[in-house]
């Protein structure tokens, strides 16, 4: 059933403060809409749970990218196009830029926002594993004030987050300390463009004295939430990359994730591919060492 626009309200308070005030007045009543690439799909299908929408597109406070000496702060309503065009983001956060280039076609990248991707909380979102490995911190705001949340603790279950009913994501902060890392983003999907991932990987790694000094791994579409592979990371820390280690990882990764069968793939295929993607990254990291 197509939605009848007469049954929906959409207000444009114009400033962040006015948006938060409205949300505080009637918590859980108002659904924020930025570029609409998720919300409008549900709306058109008549599946939108809320009848009251609040426009947060074109609010300048949510669209800035600020570069500080130790971190970069990305406004939640920055589009994928804005991320791809930003010099510091492109240079220092290639995993995020690659994920942005995977997200829909150009028209959707011109409208889709990073904050929207986070709030939509799909475990299949391509940009979320990148945020996990870069150690993102979110600023959540409401009329009650603001709080900073480690992004690792943001998703609590399938499409569940710690965002309160009167809160908005204001910005995403990334520490600028990964430029010396090998970064690798890989997506397994039915086609390159406009396809939701069957499995995707964001990986960062750094070698020292022939061994893994630090490794950070996160995956999408393999669990109810975008998942940091903490156990596999622990298993790899300090190790030399040998064939036996790669064989172990191919077992540990499927153990650590909890993939399902759905329209895009099967649990069995996802488990195998997930192990292979991490193995592929380790082989790259090993050859990085011999080249260095």
């Amino acid at each position: 059933m197509r939605a009848d626009p007469a049954e929906y309200r959409l207000v444009s308070p114009g400033s962040l403060d006015a948006v938060l005030l409205l949300m505080a007045g009637e918590p859980a009543q108002w659904l924020p809409i930025a570029g609409g690439t998720d919300v409008m799909v549900l709306y058109s299908a008549g599946k939108l749970p809320s009848r009251k929408l609040i426009n947060i597109w074109n609010i300048p406070e949510l669209q800035q990218i600020e570069v500080f000496p130790d971190s970069i702060r990305i406004g939640a309503a920055c589009t994928y196009t804005a991320l791809r065009n930003h010099e510091t983001v492109s240079r220092e956060f290639p995993l995020l830029v690659t994920a942005a280039s995977w997200t829909g076609g150009i028209a959707n990248q011109n409208r889709g926002t990073l904050g929207g991707n986070i709030a939509n909380a799909s475990p299949a979102a391509d940009s979320l594993p990148a945020l996990l490995v870069y150690g993102a911190e979110l600023t959540l705001v409401s009329v009650r004030g603001e709080r900073r949340v480690d992004y690792r603790n943001f998703h609590t279950g399938y499409k569940q987050t710690v965002l309160a009913a009167d809160e908005l994501i204001r910005d995403i902060s990334l520490p600028r300390r990964f430029s010396g890392y090998l970064s690798h983003a890989r997506k397994a999907g039915a086609r390159n463009a406009q396809a939701i991932s069957k499995v995707c990987l964001a990986a960062l790694g750094q070698m020292a004295n022939g061994a893994i000094r630090d490794v950070r791994l996160a995956m999408g579409s393999v669990a109810p939430v975008p998942l940091r592979l903490a156990e596999t990371e622990r298993l790899l820390a300090g190790k030399h990359i040998e064939p036996s280690l790669i064989a172990t990882v191919k077992k540990s990764v499927p153990w650590e994730i909890s993939p399902i069968d759905d329209i895009r793939s099967t649990a069995r295929c996802r488990a195998a591919v997930a192990g292979n993607l991490v193995a592929e990254f380790l082989e790259m990291l090993a050859s990085e060492r011999t080249n260095a």
Partner: protein
């Protein structure tokens, strides 16, 4: 940004479409696509999937390529909108039309307005695109007839004609 009334009643919205100032009376959540087609009778913008996958409803909103099926019309308030009808005077239009004809880049024609707008959006940023740029620039536009190669070739040919070697 203009504050809109807090009701689901219709409200007056103004924007520029193809260079002309327009006022429409619409519900804020009406899709820009429907307002263009039904209120302004600009039926060159097509509806394909209605969920942002196919690119048939592409328009330029303040110079940005967007799927008009995913834009609530209230978000277009005050904007500058260009539809396929507004492209006739554009410098890229003649080379693109000729190249699409010569290469067989249009068959049934439903995807063509979106393909042309995506091509213009690309060529304005990258006048000399590599084939990979063309593939990426048009990746959000689906075509059920051509198999795409003719369309990519048409865009490449139009770019070569416009930028003499």
């Amino acid at each position: 940004m203009k504050t809109l009334p807090e009701t689901s009643a219709k409200c007056e919205l103004s924007f520029t479409v193809n260079g002309d100032a327009q006022k429409v009376f619409a519900h804020p959540m009406e899709r820009l696509l429907d307002v263009l087609r039904n209120d302004l009778k600009l039926t060159g913008t097509k509806e394909g999937c209605g969920e942002g996958e196919c690119g048939s409803c592409s328009v330029l909103l303040d110079g940005m390529l967007v799927n008009s099926c995913l834009v609530p019309v209230a978000q277009a308030s005050g904007a500058n909108i260009v539809t396929i009808e507004g492209m006739s005077a554009h410098a890229l239009m003649a080379p693109l039309q000729e190249a699409f004809l010569e290469c067989g880049g249009a068959q049934c024609g439903i995807c063509t307005p979106g393909m042309i707008l995506a091509a213009v959006h690309l060529l304005e940023k990258k006048p000399e695109p590599a084939i990979a740029d063309i593939r990426e620039g048009l990746a959000g536009n689906l075509c059920r007839c051509t198999g795409y190669m003719q369309i990519f070739e048409a865009v490449a040919r139009a770019a070569r004609r416009r930028v003499p070697a």
